[in-house]
């Protein structure tokens, strides 16, 4: 199309020339001189160019040709100033890339709805347990409560329970663990799903002992493809799952990954399978145990608020029906209730931890992008000033203001496009890096699932927005130039337009500096937090300690035999080279989970308000030695049957239970309520030692009181303890564990051991993530501000060159000139700091829940931030200052 137009244009031009030639000829014949003839012909014709343009207008789609013209021109302009172009593209790529990279993780975790019909009507029901001052939300329910809700909740059209579980599949090449879930019979109906093959589970399958097809199981689409090649003949066949026979009755729809975000369950089994799977440890029949994540659908026409109100009001009727009498009237239950949340995006544990950090990061990237755009706006203004003369000529030749605006805007758009293209690459890198940092399988799956088309669209939108942000103002200002002063060919006296441009740039810079200061302060605060968290007194020595979870649920040994198995394994591991201490524990420090108990003594009876304020752990012999926690008095557990009836307190527990007298030899009472039978009984133990305090549930809280009990054959979770192996190196510890496992329990699946140091790092993963990324953004912002200062200072020096020449001629020293330049920068810096310090304070308050022992208004911290900014500013202004100081006064004063 473009070539056709240029051909037509040429044709028309030729035609007009022919016309003029004819007219000239006639004039010649009429007797005029050649010159007169030609001039007369041209006068008669009128404006040739106008004729051409108006004809062109009639052909239509003029805008396209103009756009192409603008693009070509813009490309040429950008090529002639590579410094500006590269800076701009880099700024945009980093800013937009980081923003969209983090946005894609945010979206994956927070925004994406489940792939089910009408996700908006799905709700999640949870228990909120209020214990004294604290509230624990998001606790699961149980099947009795679900049955009760089904009976009473008229606003819900279906309620189901979901229990995530790991199944062990017997395959040709051994045992492999797969993610899965045990679900209520009506789950798939409530979710509204259709099978990809076969059928889905129904309430008929959820019977004790199995349904009509025995133990019916639904497999995931992915599993079906990968392991059976999507062959329909698998329907109706049996598999051996966790040592039991199950029948595959159907395949879940493609893309359905359950309701837990980030997990990829491959097997769905009915809830009644649970007692078969877990035998004596089954919780299905226990009225007081809670273990089922509960979901429901709203009836059509019912609003979320109405349903939530009804469900909350049903708390007392439901627990009256279901909880055992003993638990029913405890103060904890009195103050608890149901929580109701929207379920359209499923549920994610990662979401709970990372929502706020991700939002904070999103804001930080937004600030960096803003600083970048302001920077670019300043640079564009500088360019517009340089092109003033050319633009004035265009306007004089008849270009409409809109046309000039369009031309400059096209340049911004081109930069934004290039920046956006690179931004996609930066976003990809950001995501890979985030994944490696988080080192979390759930995050990896969440990010991997996403189509990149949406990411590209977001990137494109971001780029366009940026182009408008940084291009519009300079373009608009440039198009409003007063013509006459700009046309005057005098580069010494600056036109009003150029002066106004410079003033605008001077105005931008303090704002940029303020934002940068806020970013640097926030980064400093988060960095200090991480340092404090790491260096705080831990109470244990985390180096070279391996933590290995066990999964002995399906071993034939139970009770006493299982305990002996543990002891033999520990002895074996102790013998291995490089191993110093081996122990076992139910909970380890900073694992994120713990158990609480109600303890009392003669001096310190159980408080009515918060009886469960003690942490309790079951540990083996040498536990404290392995962790490097000192025993302040008494002796350790022996690891034999003589441990029965003894306990070890930590110092805080000792102070609470025995404030006046020494603790060794005294008796501690524990009140234990059985969740299944509802009865309570008291257990006594004799204190044999006092251990040092250690950070327990997380790094922030002060060490809580802990009562350590010995591991016995009657321990509740004997099948799932954690070996604590302290060795000369992690490799030694790992080798010891694998050897012992292979020797004594080869049929158990290998759970991946972690190190205590790694567990500690993971407990502060959020803070580390925030610290590292905020530092990166702060450096980026400092760089951008530096570029801005450099540009402005260079312009300033260029403008004032004659004045500097005069000063030098009058005797000013080089140092004096340099300090003159730096004073200009100092002024802007002071203004920026003035605005930036309150911003930094506000920023600190916003993130205060992430900070640890850091005061947002701490003068030392803020001073450090200001100092960093000042160093960056001086470094940026140094080169122009040097150039100013080395100006030759004769050159400067020479009039062009």
């Amino acid at each position: 199309m473009l070539t056709r137009w240029s051909r037509r244009r040429k044709q028309l031009a030729e035609e007009i020339q022919a016309h003029l030639a004819l007219e000239t000829n006639e004039n010649l014949e009429a007797g005029m001189t050649p010159d007169e003839a030609r001039r007369a012909a041209q006068r008669r014709f009128g404006n040739e160019l106008l004729a051409l343009e108006r004809s062109r207008e009639i052909w239509g789609a003029l805008w396209l040709e103009r756009l192409v013209q603008d693009v070509r021109f813009a490309l040429r302009q950008l090529r002639t100033s590579p410094g500006f172009t590269v800076t701009a593209i880099l700024t945009l790529a980093l800013g937009i890339g980081a923003t969209t990279g983090i946005f894609s993780l945010t979206r994956a975790l927070l925004l994406d709805p489940l792939p089910i019909p009408d996700p908006g009507s799905l709700v999640r029901i949870s228990l909120v347990v209020r214990n004294g001052g604290s509230a624990v939300p998001d606790l699961p329910l149980n099947n009795f409560m679900i049955a009760s809700l089904r009976r009473h909740a008229s606003t819900l059209s279906g309620v189901f329970g979901w229990c995530p579980y790991f199944f062990v599949l017997q395959q040709d090449n051994g045992l492999h663990t797969y993610d899965g879930a045990m679900v209520s019979g009506n789950t798939f109906q409530v979710l509204g799903l259709r099978p990809a093959a076969g059928r889905l589970l129904t309430p008929a399958d959820n019977q004790p002992g199995g349904g009509p097809d025995g133990w019916a199981a639904v497999i995931s689409y992915r599993f079906w493809q990968e392991h059976f090649g999507a062959d329909r003949s698998i329907i109706g066949k049996t598999l051996t799952l966790s040592d039991h026979t199950i029948t595959v009755v159907g395949v879940a729809p493609r893309g359905f990954e359950g309701v837990m975000v980030g997990s990829q369950p491959d097997f769905y089994l009915p809830l009644e399978y649970e007692p078969v799977l877990r035998g004596a440890n089954s919780v299905l029949g226990q009225r007081g145990n809670v273990w089922l994540i509960t979901w429901a659908r709203l009836r059509p026409g019912v609003s979320f608020a109405a349903a939530a109100a009804q469900i909350r009001a049903l708390f007392r009727p439901v627990i009256d029906e279901t909880l055992p009498a003993d638990v029913l009237h405890t103060p904890v239950v009195e103050h608890s209730g149901f929580g109701v949340d929207r379920g359209s995006t499923g549920w994610s544990t990662l979401r709970a931890t990372y929502t706020r950090p991700l939002l904070v990061l999103q804001i930080l990237t937004g600030v960096v992008l803003l600083v970048g755009c302001v920077n670019l706006a300043g640079l564009c203004l500088a360019r517009a000033t340089a092109r003033e003369h050319e633009l004035a000529i265009r306007a004089a030749l008849g270009a409409a203001r809109a046309r000039i605006l369009q031309q400059i805007l096209v340049e911004s758009l081109l930069l934004a496009c290039a920046g956006g293209a690179f931004a996609v690459g930066v976003a990809w890198f950001t995501d890979r890096w985030l994944l490696r940092f988080l080192d979390n399988k759930e995050a990896a799956r969440a990010l991997a699932v996403h189509p990149d088309a949406a990411l590209l669209a977001v990137t494109a939108a971001g780029a366009a927005l940026c182009a408008l942000l940084f291009g519009l103002l300079p373009a608009w200002l440039a198009s409003r130039l007063p013509l006459e002063p700009a046309l005057r060919n005098n580069s010494r006296t600056l036109s009003r337009g150029a002066r106004r441009n410079f003033a605008v740039r001077r105005m931008f810079l303090p704002g940029q500096l303020a934002l940068t200061l806020a970013l640097v302060s926030v980064a400093a605060m988060l960095g200090a937090t991480v340092v404090h968290l790491r260096s705080g007194a831990l109470g244990f020595r985390p180096e070279n300690i391996l933590l290995a979870n066990t999964d002995f649920e399906r071993l034939p040994q139970k009770g006493e035999a299982l305990l002996q198995l543990y002891r033999r394994m520990m002895v074996r591991m102790q013998q291995m080279p490089g191993v110093d201490h081996v122990s076992v524990a139910e909970d380890t420090p900073l694992s994120g989970s713990s158990h609480v108990g109600a303890f009392s003594s003669d001096e310190s009876p159980e408080p009515a308000a918060n009886p469960f304020r003690y942490e309790t752990d079951e540990v083996g012999a040498n536990y404290f030695a392995a962790l490097g926690t000192p025993l302040l008095a008494g002796r350790d557990f022996s690891g034999t049957d003589a441990d029965a009836g003894t306990c070890i307190l930590n110092r805080t527990a000792m102070n609470l239970l025995f404030p006046a007298l020494p603790a060794i030899g005294r008796t501690v009472r524990q009140r234990i309520s059985s969740m299944s039978t509802g009865t309570a009984y008291t257990q006594e133990c004799r204190v044999i030692a006092v251990a040092g305090d250690m950070r327990y549930v997380n790094l922030r809280d002060t060490p809580p009181p802990v009562v350590y009990l010995p591991v016995t054959a009657k321990s509740d979770h004997l099948f799932s303890m954690t070996f604590v192996i302290q060795a000369h190196s992690l490799a030694d510890a790992r080798a010891a564990y694998l050897t012992a496992l292979h020797e004594f329990a080869p049929a158990t699946p290998n759970t991946d051991p972690t190190s205590l140091a790694g567990q500690m790092d993971e407990s502060m993963a959020r803070e580390s993530l925030l610290s590292v990324l905020s530092r990166f953004f702060a450096v980026l912002a400092l760089l951008l501000s530096g570029i801005g200062i450099y540009g402005l200072t260079a312009s300033w020096v260029a403008r004032r060159t004659p004045e500097i020449g005069v000063r030098m001629a009058l005797g000013a020293t080089r140092g004096g000139i340099a300090s003159l330049v730096l004073r200009q920068v100092a002024g802007l810096l002071a203004l920026g700091a003035l605005v930036g310090l309150p911003l930094a304070f506000v920023g600190g308050r916003v993130i205060r829940s992430f900070l640890y022992e850091v005061n947002p208004a701490s003068p030392g911290l803020l001073l450090l931030a200001v100092a960093l900014l000042a160093v960056a500013a001086v470094a940026a202004a140094w080169l122009p200052a040097r150039r100013a100081a080395t100006i030759d006064p004769v050159e400067a004063l020479r009039v062009e």
Partner: protein, 119 residues
């Protein structure tokens, strides 16, 4: 006949110019310069058209398919583009000419009313 739908002074001029061009071409094909000269001559120099405004008008008529263009050789042996009427153009010319005549008769009656019977 005009490509614009609004009626402003410029428009009227455009419409008029289009009609004049069509009429000129009714007598046979001609190139741009010849059309301009012909209009001036036939109107006894009353209508002087800026030659430059001729060409946009020709493009407009081309777009409306009332005329077609073909290459040829002009009087002084230069390459030139000749225009001639299409059937559609001829029909449009007849229609517009009739309209114009009616219009001018009406104007004449208003501007020189028949003497009223008075006193």
């Amino acid at each position: 006949m005009s490509t614009h739908t609004r009626k402003d002074p410029l428009d009227l001029l455009q419409g008029t110019l289009d009609l004049l061009i069509l009429q000129t071409l009714a007598f046979g094909r001609a190139h741009g310069h010849a059309i301009a000269r012909s209009i001036e001559r036939e109107s006894e120099e009353v209508l002087r058209v800026g030659h430059g405004s001729l060409y946009p008008a020709l493009q407009r008529l081309l777009k409306l398919k009332l005329i077609v263009a073909e290459d040829g050789v002009s009087e002084n042996n230069r390459k030139a583009r000749f225009y001639r009427l299409t059937a559609k153009g001829r029909a449009a010319l007849n229609h517009e000419a009739t309209q114009w005549e009616r219009f001018s008769r009406a104007m004449a009656r208003i501007l020189r009313p028949a003497p009223q019977e008075s006193r």
